[in-house]
């Protein structure tokens, strides 16, 4: 049984408030054979400028240091790709650094960027992330992704990362899903929901109207996970501008507070040892004492059913931002739905539901924009962007894209950005006749989860309207 010290569990504290000023996404696709990565990065930065009615030239005058998220040098076949982008953005001689934490790279980039502002090192910073996953065949791409597992102990076993999640899906289904077909259908419902929401997002790579049966009938990738349970391989970029209060209000009238926290756990699932569940503010000491009786095998924590890194990112992040109950205190979430199973696991890790009951977040309809059971607004809509399953997983950009999507909702500008006919045209797409504005009315607080490995790194980014902050 491993334990953690008081010092390790201290609530992180910024030395001053950090604000999200603006941000932008490029279009996301499976391939951009006729665009260089820098073109996508500049597209994202231009979006961020347009969002606050400024120009790159003006915005760059405020930027003091830069944080670049780019997961895989392999994919781009370019070491120091960050230096290439920094130069092409014309940001020399500012200090810059590359950040790599697998699938959590986007969130980790915001983590580093926010600390630079919080510490006073910089008053305004650029956080930019991208990935280029189209310059090798898909099976080579799968090998590269599997290279993020332990190369001696895991990667040679098929070179297929989905397999590492599939063993979790199997275990979770048997313990918490009680081997019920209904649980499998709930997993599939996530894929249906997120691909459906992507239909309303012009940036999204894979909008698709499908049914639960389509997901269950899709080809097996790694049993029990099927093709439509899995996220996309993508190309694209996303960026955010973070600043101190004075700079933020000089650039926009409506900056939002941003808090970013991070957790980690073993790269190999094999190395997970048993521990007590670290409790979130909405959980009680005895809450899980009968978990093993209710769900035999479920008391081995985190075992293969939970992600300690996700739990710790929420443990730190909620306390930083004053969040007690995520369903009550947040208005929407963007979760790292790399696989339908990991999405359900994360509901529990971040306290949306207690351990063992993640499926009820979907089955209750709470995770929808409009609850399909009650037709009322969902209590805590999830992945209205389409998530990693429907929108994109251009790894280094993902956590930033999710945060920017949250920002649109908090500004009440989701419809303006996603419904703009010119944007659909610019991306060579037809705006759907049944396009819907998925704006969450009155949204003041949102959370984005960025997740790597088989839970090796996870960040929690919380964005808050300053008039509705909970930490003071």
């Amino acid at each position: 049984m491993i334990t953690f010290s008081e010092q390790q569990l201290k609530t992180p504290k910024y030395m001053r408030d950090v604000y999200l000023v603006t941000g932008g996404n490029s279009e996301f696709r499976r391939a951009f054979p006729e665009k260089r990565t820098e073109e996508l990065c500049i597209e994202a930065l231009q979006e961020a400028c347009d969002y606050i009615n400024t120009t790159p030239q003006e915005l760059k005058k405020h930027i003091h240091s830069c944080y670049y998220g780019h997961f895989a040098d392999h994919f781009g076949d370019q070491l120091l790709g960050e230096a290439v982008i920094h130069d092409r953005l014309g940001l020399d001689p500012l200090g810059n650094v590359g950040i790599k934490t697998g699938g959590a790279t986007g969130g980790s980039t915001l983590w580093e960027a926010s600390k630079a502002v919080a510490s006073g090192y910089s008053d305004c910073v650029l956080a930019m992330g991208w990935e280029r996953m189209d310059e090798v065949p898909t099976d080579e791409g799968n090998n590269y992704i599997a290279s993020a597992a332990d190369k001696d102990w895991e990667t040679p076993l098929g070179h297929i990362y989905t397999g590492y999640y599939a063993v979790m899906a199997q275990r979770y289904w048997q313990i918490f899903g009680k081997e019920e077909d209904s649980f499998r259908r709930t997993m599939a419902e996530i894929a249906v929901k997120n691909r459906g929401y992507a239909c309303h997002n012009p940036f999204a790579q894979a909008p698709l109207k499908i049914t639960v049966d389509d997901v269950i009938a899709s080809p097996v990738v790694a049993f029990p996970l099927r093709a439509l349970d899995c996220c996309l391989m993508s190309v694209g970029a996303a960026c955010a501008i973070l600043a101190d209060e004075e700079t933020a209000y000089a650039l926009t009238d409506t900056p939002q507070l941003i808090y970013v926290a991070a957790g980690s756990h073993t790269l190999r699932v094999a190395d997970r040892r048993n521990m007590e569940i670290p409790l979130l503010p909405n959980e009680t000491k005895d809450q899980y004492k009968d978990l093993g009786k209710e769900f035999p095998g479920g008391d081995r924590y985190p075992g293969f059913t939970g992600f300690l890194a996700a739990r710790m990112s929420a443990y730190y992040g909620y306390r930083m931002a004053g969040v007690v109950d995520p369903t009550r205190d947040l208005d929407l979430v963007e979760l790292h739905d790399a696989f339908t199973i990991s999405d359900i696991q994360t509901y529990e890790d971040i306290g949306i539901r207690p351990y063992g009951l993640g499926r009820t977040y979907v089955e209750s309809g709470d995770c929808y924009h409009t609850n399909p059971n009650t037709k009322a607004p969902g209590k805590l809509p999830a992945n209205l962007s389409g998530g990693l399953i429907g929108c994109m997983h251009a790894v280094g950009a993902t956590g930033i894209m999710q945060t920017i999507e949250c920002m649109y909702h908090l500004h009440g500008r989701h419809g303006e950005i996603h419904g703009d006919e010119r944007r659909w045209e610019r991306f060579g797409k037809q705006k759907p006749a049944d396009w819907e504005d998925l704006q969450v009315e009155g949204a003041n607080r949102a959370l984005a989860i960025s997740h790597a490995g088989v839970g090796s790194h996870v960040t929690a980014t919380i964005v808050v309207n300053p008039d509705h902050r909970l930490d003071k």
Partner: protein
């Protein structure tokens, strides 16, 4: 690409061809516009097992070697047994003691979880479908990942290790698993059991 690598007086001695390059090709769109180029080449990496060499050598010899923290001052990890092999205890960072877990595995290895896949990434050498299994052992605090070569996996089923000791690759692929009770004649070619 014929090559060999030895270590002589603490340094790699590399002989032969470790890399080659082929002529690249242009990439054009339907209109004939130049969009990019290919960058073909082949290369060989070397890699050190360091303190884990004992595990991989052990597997090649038909033994499953794990480690144990024997530091009585270690507040958390003392007497913890690790498989996968850990060179240092993750808690006190003292060197661990190697322990032969072959008999423990023969007696107690049980499937904790599993998955089956027909799809693999590039460079896969295993026959499909691949059956990943995660294996628990009595008295071991971690859960090893491996692959099942005979039968169908199910949580809770007993399995035993088999070893490619006749012609080892000195990688994790030399260690596979079969259901307990699999006879010697049923074992896949090139593998033997220590049971």
């Amino acid at each position: 690409m014929p090559y060999s690598v030895d270590v002589v007086r603490g340094r790699y001695r590399l002989r032969g061809e470790f890399h080659s390059i082929e002529r690249n090709q242009p990439i054009r769109n339907e209109a004939g516009k130049l969009c990019g180029v290919t960058n073909p080449r082949r290369l060989v990496h070397t890699h050190s097992y360091g303190g884990e060499h004992e595990f991989f050598e052990g597997v090649a010899q038909g033994r499953l070697i794990g480690t144990r923290c024997d530091n009585a001052d270690c507040e958390v990890g003392y007497q913890s047994v690790f498989m996968p092999f850990r060179i240092h205890c993750p808690d006190c960072l003292q060197k661990t003691t190697s322990v032969d877990l072959t008999e423990v595995a023969n007696r107690s290895a049980t499937i904790h979880s599993f998955m089956i896949t027909e799809r693999t990434g590039a460079f896969n050498t295993l026959e499909k479908p691949i059956k990943f299994i995660n294996i628990e052992f009595e008295g071991v605090c971690t859960i090893l990942m491996g692959y099942l070569l005979c039968g169908e996996p199910a949580i809770g089923n007993r399995v035993v290790p088999i070893f490619a000791s006749a012609s080892p690759t000195y990688t994790i692929l030399d260690l596979a698993w079969v259901p307990d009770g699999t006879s010697a004649s049923e074992l896949p070619k090139g593998f033997s059991s220590s049971k």
